[in-house]
């Protein structure tokens, strides 16, 4: 393992963190979108506000972390991706703007029509953004981003693997969030809401299962190498994801609380890590190796240093934030 592999690994840790933390926030937006009218959906929406309010900005920052790691550590890959997948990237950016603004504005607006407008923007873009990121991942994994960039602007993200990636991302986020929100509802002693989100966790789990099974056939025809790697080198992780999925759903069905969020997160993390393992040692499809795209060693060393400082400073700060938030030491509304 050389320096570029280490930096790629450190960057990928950010991808997994974004999938889990950012993903749960996106999923909360999905449940916000599907919660029904202002009256019917108010409890669910209120819970979404309470649980992601203090953390969404920190969770969003994982995306920045991944971007800066990618563009400084692997500038060639960054340019190849942005010049090929610029359409889904722009839609994702649109989603990020509407989502952040919608959420921040909803939090401070008091009139129902304003809240409804801002809430709809937040919720709808919480679905758009993960879909775009999923389809981008699909485009990269299936080798549709040429090393030199400027790949097909349309088929690079409108293809079976990308569509699968997009749908899987949305469903995974919803799945994760349902478990998180069920736990948050339990903390508020709201049994109805907890049951509500347990039901949604089951639903999302079932849909994720169906999508994954369909995905097997999609990948086999559309991205054979990825399929091969997933079913060989990545197999243990896929098995782990499946087991966690089953255990998580059984737990949700039986109303078990211990570790349910962790198991849901492990299922999603296993899928994402599986993608990474299947793709290694390539950064793009099966044509651009990690070390081929890497910046000079001094840059990589600086990035590694940044990651070490992050581990020393950012992680404890994040833990503090999540602990304070989990303990209810942060005011629900501002």
């Amino acid at each position: 393992m050389n320096l570029s592999d280490v930096v790629a690994l450190v960057m990928f840790v950010g991808v997994v963190a974004y999938a889990l933390f950012g993903g749960a926030d996106f999923g909360a937006g999905f449940w916000d979108l599907t919660a029904g009218g202002a009256e019917r959906g108010k409890n669910a929406r209120h819970l979404v506000d309470l649980s992601i309010g203090p953390v969404w900005e920190a969770n969003h920052t994982w995306l920045i972390y991944c971007l800066v790691m990618l563009w400084s550590g692997f500038p060639a890959a960054f340019v190849a991706i942005t010049t090929t997948l610029y359409l889904p990237l722009m839609f994702a950016a649109l989603g990020i703007v509407l989502r952040g603004a919608g959420f921040a504005f909803r939090k401070v607006s008091v009139r129902t029509p304003q809240q409804r407008l801002n809430g709809t923007l937040f919720a709808a873009s919480s679905v758009l953004t993960p879909y775009c990121f999923g389809s981008i991942a699909g485009g990269i994994a299936s080798g549709r981003v040429p090393s030199g960039g400027n790949g097909d602007a349309v088929t690079s993200w409108l293809n079976p693997t990308s569509v699968l990636g997009g749908i899987l991302a949305v469903v995974s986020c919803a799945y994760l969030a349902a478990f998180y929100l069920a736990t948050a509802a339990h903390r508020l002693h709201d049994a109805d809401l907890e049951r509500y989100f347990r039901g949604r966790a089951l639903l999302a789990g079932a849909v994720a299962g169906v999508v994954s099974i369909a995905g097997i056939f999609v990948l086999r025809t559309d991205a054979p190498r990825l399929f091969h790697q997933l079913s060989h080198r990545g197999l243990p992780l896929m098995v782990l994801a499946t087991l966690c999925g089953i255990v998580g759903m059984a737990g949700a069905h039986l109303g078990r609380r211990t570790g349910r969020r962790e198991i849901a997160a492990l299922a999603i993390a296993a899928v994402v890590v599986g993608w990474g393992v299947a793709q290694y040692p390539f950064l793009l499809g099966t044509h651009l190796r990690i070390h081929e795209a890497a910046a000079p060693d001094t840059t990589l060393a600086v990035l590694l240093g940044v990651a070490c400082v992050a581990a020393l400073i950012i992680l404890p700060s994040l833990i503090l934030l999540f602990r304070l938030s989990g303990q209810g030491r942060l005011r629900a509304h501002i």
């Binding site: 942005t82 921040a104 840059t299 700060s317």
Partner: protein, 482 residues
């Protein structure tokens, strides 16, 4: 003089010279407009992340130290305003990082290994800021008072570090160095040289002061407007004074720093300086042109102050200043961009002295009355000072960004080489303007609604949740119910 020649040599980089002959691709203009617009939008939000949070902590400190409820209320309200603006700043900043790849692949692909590095450091600071902003914001009345105050300190420090890191990247584009190139590829990087490039310190200090000036005057302007409407209570006076005094303290320092910056630009970025001074030909006894523009390489209109530019640049009228002629025609900035830089510089300096005038006026009124001035004309001026400061900030960035043209990385990468080859970018630009206009309007509307609410119901308004009625008590979170 040797330093001048060194910088001119960069401008004559042979590889770029050959490429410079090619014409501008059609997407260059929309890409530049798009970048200018999104960056110009984002830059207005920066002072609120960097300096409003500091004002908030000043008020907070005063509130805790002197048991001052007015100051505490100000701190609390400013924290809520900062929360909205930091959130909008975070998302517009994210858009910029997408745009760097989508619009400027030449920059990111060729120089990402160097240019990208400061952003990795910035990411670190931003992470810290995002975490502690949340803790601080949501920690009101929940965390022990002083512990809560201290959670605000990392916000202020991280925002300073983050801003400095971004400026490291920007100043590197003005005075690149610390890289080894082979066949147009970066093969080695000296990180400290990249970060602490020649323009780093002066650009950073200049921008951080600007941030404090913008935030200070904007805050003061809001309370000045309130006082004009007859709200003259202690809350308004204190809010005005904290903002105004911070900006007032920064203004004279900024004038001194700005003067130093101009001399550094004269030494290190001669092309930019020639544009600032609207100077077609090299010479001494150069007059300072106020206003005016360049048409067909000749200065039109404008009010020349004899010898002034030479004196400002080198303290003697015989100081020689290099003109635009010294730049090879193929990489010479166009008349239009020279005019833009020159006028933007005039606006920046002019607005700075307007603000200085306001500060002096304040000092005089205070000295005469020994108390917070309530002179209506002064308050009118103060109410507008935030806008004036924003104009000043924007024009300063126009000077440094347009002043670099036609280069993206001076001497190494032309903007036309950096731009994407992807097709029509105008629709993207149009859509971005519409989107940002909506977000900007939304931000103004929610901030105004917040202010109105505070005026009518005070600070402890009950939260009205999504939907007609609230399901939980205002303070209902997990902790209390355990």
């Amino acid at each position: 003089m040797s330093r001048h020649h060194a910088s001119m040599d960069r401008v004559l980089h042979p590889v770029s010279k050959a490429l410079a002959a090619a014409g501008d691709p059609s997407q260059l203009l929309p890409a530049r407009e798009q970048m200018a617009f999104t960056l110009g939008f984002h830059i207005i939000l920066v002072p609120f992340g960097v300096a409003l949070t500091a004002l908030m902590l000043i008020a907070h400190y005063r509130g805790l130290r002197h048991d001052d409820s007015d100051a505490l209320r100000l701190a609390r309200r400013w924290s809520k305003v900062a929360a909205v603006l930091v959130a909008v700043g975070a998302i517009t900043g994210t858009v910029l990082s997408f745009e760097l790849g989508i619009l400027w692949p030449g920059l990111m692909g060729d120089y990402g290994a160097a240019f990208g590095m400061p952003f990795a450091v910035e990411g670190l600071f931003f992470f810290l800021e995002a975490i502690f902003v949340s803790i601080y914001l949501y920690g009101w009345n929940r965390l022990p008072p002083w512990a809560h105050f201290w959670t605000g300190v990392p916000v202020v420090l991280a925002s300073l570090g983050g801003a400095a890191a971004v400026i490291a990247a920007n100043s590197w584009m003005n005075q690149p160095g610390g890289i080894t190139l082979r066949d147009g590829h970066v093969t080695a990087v000296r990180p400290l040289r990249v970060f602490f490039n020649g323009a780093f310190w002066y650009e950073t200090v200049h921008m951080l002061l600007a941030a404090y000036i913008v935030a200070g005057f904007t805050v003061a302007g809001v309370y000045a407007a309130g006082m004009l409407k007859g709200r003259r209570d202690r809350h308004h006076r204190l809010g005005f004074l904290i903002g105004f005094l911070v900006a007032a303290a920064a203004i004279p320092v900024q004038i001194f720093v700005g003067d130093t910056v101009a001399r550094e630009v004269f030494k290190e970025e001669p092309a930019k300086f020639a544009a600032i001074e609207l100077l077609p030909a090299t010479g001494d006894h150069v007059p300072e042109n106020l206003g005016g523009f360049l048409v067909d390489g000749k200065v039109r209109y404008g009010l020349p102050v004899p010898d002034m530019a030479s004196i400002l640049a080198g303290f003697t009228p015989s100081t020689e200043i290099r003109g635009l002629e010294a730049i090879p025609p193929e990489v010479r900035p166009t008349d239009r961009s020279v005019t833009i830089v020159h006028l933007a510089f005039d606006v920046m300096v002019g607005t700075t002295f307007l603000m200085l005038g306001l500060v002096l006026w304040f000092a005089w009124l205070w000295w005469r009355g020994r108390t917070m001035p309530t002179n209506r004309w002064f308050l009118r001026g103060a109410a507008l000072s935030g806008l004036v400061a924003v104009v000043c900030l924007e024009s300063g960035w126009v000077v440094t960004e347009v002043g670099r043209q036609p280069w993206t990385v001076v001497g190494l990468l032309l903007t036309r080489q950096a731009v994407t080859t992807q097709g029509n970018l105008w629709p993207l630009f149009g859509a971005t303007v519409v989107l940002y206009a909506a977000v900007g309007t939304g931000a103004v509307l929610v901030l105004r609604a917040m202010a109105r609410r505070w005026r009518t119901a005070g600070d402890e308004t009950v939260y009205v949740p999504y939907g007609p009625e609230q399901p939980y008590a205002t303070s209902g979170t997990a902790g209390e119910e355990r």
